[in-house]
């Protein structure tokens, strides 16, 4: 899904040191949401090198900008795990409550934002104090959070919605839909906006209506654009973050009869490290789309069939490889970014259900 910022610099450092000792190791971390593991792939060889046991249904991954620490949220047991990314060992874990989702961390590594899906609440976890220092209530169900790599003044929160007539009603009846304080809710408000949270005050300072339940989002490094997948829209939205409004609604071009007649939804979106392209995916159609974002309206440059349902996207810091998690196929598709061609599939254990991924340039011990 993402690349720890400052990684481009680390990557160049690593390249400069080539021939001498390697200064850093670039690794792809894969949350196996169907199991209890995080898989580690060496980006130099695109092969699986390690398996970390973390906890039930790993979902969110975030790394500190120096690549030293990795944080992983496990949805099934409600924990936040601190991983030493140099040695790939867990050093601490914290109980934050069930249904932890995506996470994001400020550039100084101090504040970590994590959504509690059923509680309409984003928790702000202070990694130095090792405790939750603020809670941000939202409509809907907290799912995604991102920042702009070069400007972490704001966190962009995209809570999704569940079906208000069936799932939400049933959850209210069972007392599993709660507020920030853990009090059972008696009513459910679906969400159709992106929230802007100020990381200095940990309060919401604005919202951007998007016309549907927002799903994965991605910000450009300079903080000027946000790209959003939305339920009910087979494509994505382009959002001007200064004007705080949607400026473009992009629809995927449906080519085959199969694509025209079979339901699909957009899920998984990220910007290439060189900031030239934005990639997103059509899940049931098994296609990843690459758009040139140096022009507006954005321009389709490639449609990349990947077979099994694509779900999350991340890139190697040198812009060479795109990594697409195939939850249905228990694999990672490796795409050559320049040619937009599938070059390799990294198989993972059956049932592992890979989802969120993160590329980290970790210093060598």
């Amino acid at each position: 899904m993402r690349l720890a910022p400052a990684i481009a610099a680390c990557w160049l450092l690593a390249l400069g040191a080539a021939g001498a000792a390697r200064a850093a190791t670039t690794k792809l971390y894969i949350a196996a949401t169907g199991g209890t593991q995080v898989y580690v792939v060496d980006v130099a060889t695109n092969s699986l090198v390690k398996t970390l046991e973390v906890g039930k249904s790993p979902h969110g991954i975030a790394a500190t900008t120096d690549g030293r620490w990795l944080w992983i949220a496990t949805e099934g047991d409600g924990k936040l795990h601190k991983i030493d990314a140099v040695r790939d060992v867990e050093t601490a874990s914290f109980d934050l409550g069930p249904y932890q989702q995506e996470i994001e961390i400020t550039n100084d590594g101090r504040l970590l934002y994590t959504g509690r899906f059923m509680d309409g609440c984003y928790d702000v976890f202070d990694t130095a104090k090792e405790s939750v220092v603020a809670r941000i209530p939202v409509d809907g169900n907290p799912h995604n959070v991102v920042k702009a790599a070069n400007d972490d003044r704001y966190m962009y929160l995209s809570p999704m919605s569940i079906d208000p007539d069936t799932v939400a009603k049933s959850a209210i009846k069972r007392g599993t839909l709660r507020d920030c304080a853990g009090k059972p809710k008696t009513a459910y408000l679906p969400n159709d906006k992106v929230y802007i949270a100020d990381t200095r005050t940990n309060t919401v300072v604005g919202t951007i209506p998007v016309g549907g339940s927002p799903r994965p989002i991605a910000a450009s490094d300079d903080g000027r654009r946000l790209y959003a997948d939305i339920d009910g829209w087979l494509g994505f939205l382009v959002i001007d973050l200064q004007a705080r409004k949607v400026i473009e609604r992009v629809k995927f071009p449906l080519v085959t009869d199969d694509e025209k007649t079979t339901f699909s939804r957009a899920h998984g979106i990220w910007v290439t490290p060189d900031q030239k392209e934005v990639w997103t995916a059509s899940v049931n159609h098994g296609v990843v789309y690459a758009y040139d974002r140096t022009v507006e309206p954005v321009r389709l440059v490639a449609r990349i069939p990947v077979g099994a349902a694509p779900y999350w996207i991340s890139f190697s810091p040198d812009d060479r490889m795109g990594y697409i998690s195939l939850s249905e196929g228990d694999a990672i598709a490796v795409i050559d970014v320049a040619s937009h061609k599938l070059v390799k599939t990294i198989p993972l254990p059956k049932g592992s259900g890979p989802k969120t991924t993160q590329v980290v340039v970790a210093p060598t011990p």
Binding site: T261, F263, R265, V283, E328, G353
Partner: protein
């Protein structure tokens, strides 16, 4: 001779009631443009699914294709819509004979008419209208409730 396949009906309603899923004993179905016919020899092996796709017309006049599998379980021949009721990812039959969604891992029981077991779907799989006709399984329609998810 045409008879109801050993699927759905009262067993489905009972399973639905037991799991809190949709308890409607006889849902409304939307007819396929062309019925799906699966000859029994294709379903000889137990737990070997035969995938199929069927086309119907939505109320807005557009065509829509619905995916499914027919499978012989140790009990009988079944047909399951493989759109997950949660967010319509495509469910797969696992090696341990459950229907599992790869997106958020909802589980359904193929031995209880696709009853919901676990996960965010919170209802049984969408039903097909299907019958045994001579040596074939004939699938003629899809539960109408699916349509609101596709519009």
């Amino acid at each position: 001779m045409e008879r109801r396949a050993l699927i759905g009906g009262a067993a489905a309603s009972l399973a639905a009631a037991a799991t809190g899923a949709d308890a409607s004993p006889s849902p409304r179905f939307l007819p396929f443009q062309t019925p799906v016919v699966i000859a029994f020899p294709q379903l000889e092996a137990v737990w070997a699914p035969a995938p199929f796709r069927a086309r119907f017309t939505k109320s807005n006049g557009e065509d829509s294709v619905v995916p499914g599998i027919a499978v012989r379980t140790p009990r009988r021949i079944e047909a399951f819509c493989t759109y997950c009721p949660h967010e319509l990812c495509v469910i797969k039959l696992t090696d341990d004979h459950q229907l599992r969604c790869p997106c958020h891992f909802s589980l359904f029981d193929p031995l209880r008419d696709g009853a919901w077991i676990a996960g965010p779907a919170m209802r049984r799989t969408y039903r097909f209208d299907h019958r045994v006709k001579g040596p074939d399984l004939v699938i003629t329609g899809i539960e109408a409730d699916l349509e609101r998810r596709l519009l």
